[in-house]
């Protein structure tokens, strides 16, 4: 267990002035500062290429930041591999393209990390897996392979796989963007339940209805910076910034 950094005890994620440059001089995000409270649901919205995915991927170290600090549950996400791995165990992530392991059954997809990372026995891992599959409503698919599932079912398995690690925070990067319209609802329902149960969530989404209903706070990003943030209803009803108004008028 690494030494925890004293931060505001209520802040599970604390981001200070982070910048990420990609090769070729692209500044994907610039000096972003933000906190996430425990049990808070933050929805990140913004136009394509504004750096939403990059920001999310920095939070669990999938991208290395070029400046600033990130502290997750008291652990600094610095160059230290042990810190990074410890944070990754506590932070679950769901991707736009599901990213299940195609050569494993649903059960093995969900059991793998439980056994290898958490050191659980087969029985323990199976029990958790079945409980989670029931919760996301696809118990009967335990022994199916990912390619035998619909997109919505695959994404629910991906959510179950992340939840099986018992994470303190869940990150969602456009979890419904690759889905056919009739499947978006079933995935959003799972995410909504999760939020109601008090999971801390950072959600990048284009589903404004979902954001308004579920989010405690909306963060609007553009060109790598946070342009505006606020409580959900307030944000949608009375945006302050011109760029926010322009964006909202285009998509609502």
């Amino acid at each position: 267990m690494s030494r925890r950094i004293p931060v505001e005890p209520d802040h599970i994620i604390s981001v200070r002035g982070i910048t990420k440059n990609y090769p070729g001089g692209i500044q994907a995000i610039r000096e972003i500062t933000m906190d996430v409270h425990r049990r808070e649901v933050v929805c990140v919205i913004g136009p394509s290429g504004s750096g939403k995915s990059t920001f999310l991927r920095c939070l669990n170290g999938l991208e290395q930041i070029d400046a600033g600090t990130i502290i997750v549950d008291g652990i600094p996400l610095d160059g230290n591999r042990r810190h990074r791995d410890e944070i990754r165990r506590e932070v679950g992530m769901v991707f736009q393209s599901f990213n299940l392991f195609p050569h494993m059954t649903v059960r093995r997809n969900i059991c793998l990390a439980q056994k290898r990372v958490r050191g659980k026995s087969d029985e323990e891992a199976f029990a958790v897996t079945h409980a989670l599959l029931r919760r996301v409503g696809i118990e009967e698919k335990t022994d199916a392979f990912p390619s035998q599932l619909s997109g919505g079912q695959q994404q629910r398995v991906a959510i179950a796989r992340a939840l099986a690690m018992n994470p303190k925070v869940m990150l969602f990067d456009e979890a419904t963007s690759a889905l056919d319209p009739e499947m978006i609802g079933e995935v959003l329902a799972v995410m909504r339940d999760l939020a109601l149960e008090g999971m801390t969530m950072v959600v990048v989404t284009h589903e404004m209805g979902f954001a308004r209903e579920v989010a405690d706070r909306i963060v609007f990003m553009d060109e790598g910076v946070i342009v505006e943030e606020g409580e959900a209803d307030e944000f949608f009803d009375a945006p302050r910034e011109e760029r926010t108004k322009a964006f909202l008028s285009k998509i609502l």
Binding site: N60, L62, A113, S147
Partner: protein, 306 residues
Amino acid sequence: MSRRHARDAGVAADALLDIGSLRRYTECNSAMPMAKRPHIRKFLSAVRARRRGLIEIGEFLLFAAIAAVVVAIGTNNLQYNWQWFRVPRYLFTTGPDGLRAGVLLQGLVVTIQISGLGLVLAAFFGLVTALFRLSRSFTANAVAQIYLEAVRNTPLLIQLFLIYFVVAPIVGLSPFWSAVLALSLFEGAYASEIMRGAIVSIPRHQWESCHSLGLTSTDTYRFVVLPQAIRRILPPLTGQAVSLVKDSALVSTIAIYDLTMAGSATVSNTFLTFEIWFTVAAIYLLLNGVLSLLSHLLERRFEVVT
């Protein structure tokens, strides 16, 4: 998807003469209009492939007959005295304790041992080199690169001699293990390129989901990347294994009694030049045939359900 369809089509084409199953096949797939059914098109092309296969067998037989005639005329002109009846005793001998392997089959056993061990070691060298080249360590990269360049740009025969005459005396390696080492280092270099290619072809997001779950790099390779890569590695690696078996004939130059050496010795004892060399070639052909079959079975085993 397409793989399963292709297999279905193959099965159906096998059943071509069985009208009942053909009807069943078309009936259970008749939901869509004919022209829009990709599996029907696949099926037809599979039928055509089988037909082409028959034609090719015919062509092959014709060719073999012509070759046989040419050889017969040629050897007739040479006044070669065929004595096939003398060959079996070099395959099997009957002694007081029953049937025993003759010199050629004893040589084959050595060839199989050397190739088998060589294959395992080549896979090991290949994998290690591939991982070295994919690692971020400068030293590992340099070592792998030097090994690859050295092996690929010198003749195998010279590598074999270097190991047998220079390395083996220093470290006390037997001729047998010198041969295994030389062959596996050689084939390992080519295998590593195949493996690296397959590993790189696994999409980046597979790595990312492993990382986001907190899996270590070792576990990511072991459970996620390599099992997927092996499916893509097996077919080209079979070609490499066949090369290894063929290249193992070179070990006869360092006094190892493999199949080639056994053939050569038998020829000089008996002057059955044509018969023995034809037999030796046929044995190599058979061995590699078995190898391809095994790899085919393995491929099925690692097939990803699609």
